[in-house]
Amino acid sequence: MDTAAISVKGVSKVYKLYRGRSKRLLDFFSLGFGEGRHDEEFCALDDVSFEIPQGTTVGIIGRNGAGKSTLLRILTGNSSPTKGEVEIKGKVSALLEIGTGFHPELTGQQNIHVSGVYLGLTQEEIDRLYTDIVAFSELEDFIHQPVKTYSYGMYMRLAFSVSTCINPDVLIIDEVLGVGDAYFSRKCFNRIRSFMECGKTVLMASHDLLALQRLCTRLLWIDHGRLMMDGPPLEVLRAYAASVREQEERRFRAKVPATHHDASSLREKGLIYGSGEILITEVKCLNHVGQEQHQFSVGEPLTIRMRYKTRVPVVDPVFVAALYRIDGVTICQAISSRDGVKFDKLDGQGFVDVLFDRPLLGPGQYVVSVAIFPSLDLLDQLGQTPYDLHDRLYGFQIEPLVDCALDLGMVLHPVSWRHSRGE
């Protein structure tokens, strides 16, 4: 069992980028004789090494363009490494892009035969597997129709059934889980699981982190062509999530200032309005150490900070911060007067914090509105004219849980349980 089914040693893949076509042609013709006519190089994989023992299921994660597909293509032999060695023991089957060998004018039955040819099966093998394939796809009623009449889901079902009918020692899958409806998706899932149970080696790349976590015993994380981490799924997923969060954060930061500088145009659009005696100059979401942040994990303390500046002194205004779900449903409104907070006379600058010490918010995207009112009559549904109101201009995100696939809802409400036996 401890022999390596897949062994990858120092594999690099460099793509040559050419500015002119003629150079590319020259390089192509003289391949192996002369080098260095290309203008730039792009390193899709950089010195990647790992070994996968027989009978294990390993997942590959990474952002788009990280090198996952390149790696899988090299493993299947669809591409050759620039440097390094790849060794695979046993018969390999690859699900890279499924359904690519299908021809729209041919019927489902004919396409099964065609794909069989492409998969290198003999006529007898195809005939033997045919019933199985049709049964798994559940397309008995349509199998004699041209596939151009199939719906996308039907097409994918047939494709998946054909691609997995063969019985390889090593199965390499690139992002093809979850084809068709929920029912068929589960069927696919189970088929891959049964592969694993038969002691086959499975290597799969996917963005479906939960599926990976359920299926894999080990994960590889690839970023910018480098193997960042190789270990137990939960650990790797945590590290990966943290890095994605960091990148999201950077993207957010690059985006946010624009809205700040443009207060006047936002005012024109009616997204900021009010009588203007006191203005909100800045709104930030802060983490527990007071740093600005837009990605929070479930239950992480969160503070909404509103900086204000008065034009004329105001007396005991009401500060409001409202949270909305992305579809506009109001989640909660924090109203200072309702919470019994008084501000007396405000003159000059300062800030007010709304502290969510133990937020109950479930994973998702949230939108924030902030406002300052002279007073707030809670019985008046229409609301009063504010001093200043910023309508849904801010936001933050609560990350999905790494270890839970279930939709836990919008509110992670604390409850207590009671149990009594008998009548």
């Binding site: 042609l25 669809n78 690859a94 690519t100 021809h103 040819v117 003999t122």
Partner: protein
């Protein structure tokens, strides 16, 4: 020799691919396989009308229109097989780009099956012609050379197409250029005329055109019941082998990197 070994090892796959090629070409079309005979017949008709009917060309004074028609048919059949193979073969690898990217498949077989598909069309036409010639009592023992000619033609075309299909991946214009070249080559190939009929100025061109030897071979075997011109046969045979082996080397040299370019 690894080339022949490869072809032999994959013979069933080549056959399957060729059948598939046919199936796909006529899938969904009403007349289906009828097209395979209809297209050459139409071309033959056009040739006859133009050269035989309007221009009144004859190989010599005594020959009739029917004889001239048979002469054209003997030239047209190998030409169609060859040009179909070359044009389809050149585009064949690129046409299967999805497959090349997603499957582990011996892609050197795509050009081969394209050439075979062209040859099958030619064979069907040849059978028809044989029946016709048989009825006229024109067939003789030299017909035995025919399979040999077919094989040489196949090897030559496959080699050429291995090279062209590779170049087509980098220079996508290749397939367009090839279509044009085929039109030009058609006119300098002795299809509607014989090598002897070519004017002195053009003789060299016709003699340098390898297809001339092929057509001449077919004519000798089918029409004149003569053993083919040995010199021509040796030249074409040598060329076919050379082109085949060079094309194979070129393709295999590049096949590792081809998926990155398609």
């Amino acid at each position: 020799m690894s080339c022949f070994h490869m072809l032999f090892r994959h013979r069933r796959l080549i056959w399957n691919l060729t059948l598939l090629d046919f199936r796909l070409r006529y899938a969904g079309s009403r007349l289906g396989l009828v097209w395979m005979l209809l297209a050459p017949l139409l071309m033959l008709g056009a040739y006859l009308l133009l050269f035989g009917g309007i221009l009144q060309v004859r190989p010599d004074q005594s020959s009739t229109g029917v004889e001239y028609g048979l002469l054209i048919a003997c030239g047209l059949l190998p030409w169609i097989g060859f040009s179909e193979g070359v044009t389809r073969g050149t585009a064949s690898v690129l046409a299967q780009r999805n497959l090349i990217k997603s499957h582990v498949f011996p892609m050197e077989l795509f050009p081969v099956s394209a050439v075979c598909a062209g040859l099958i069309g030619q064979l069907c036409g040849t059978l028809l012609l044989l029946v016709l010639l048989g009825l006229r009592g024109m067939l003789g023992p030299n017909l035995a050379v025919l399979p040999f000619l077919l094989i040489l033609q196949a090897l030559f075309t496959v080699g050429l197409v291995w090279f062209l299909s590779c170049v087509n991946i980098i220079y996508r214009d290749t397939s367009q250029v090839v279509v044009l070249m085929m039109v030009l080559l058609m006119f300098i190939s002795p299809i509607a005329y014989t090598q002897e009929m070519a004017p002195a100025g053009l003789k060299l061109v016709v003699e340098l055109n390898p297809i001339s030897y092929l057509i001449e071979g077919y004519r000798n075997a089918l029409l004149y019941n003569q053993f083919p011109n040995v010199r021509g046969l040796v030249i074409f045979g040598g060329l076919a082998l050379l082109v085949l082996l060079a094309g194979y080397r070129y393709f295999m040299h590049l096949r590792r990197v081809l998926p990155d370019y398609v």
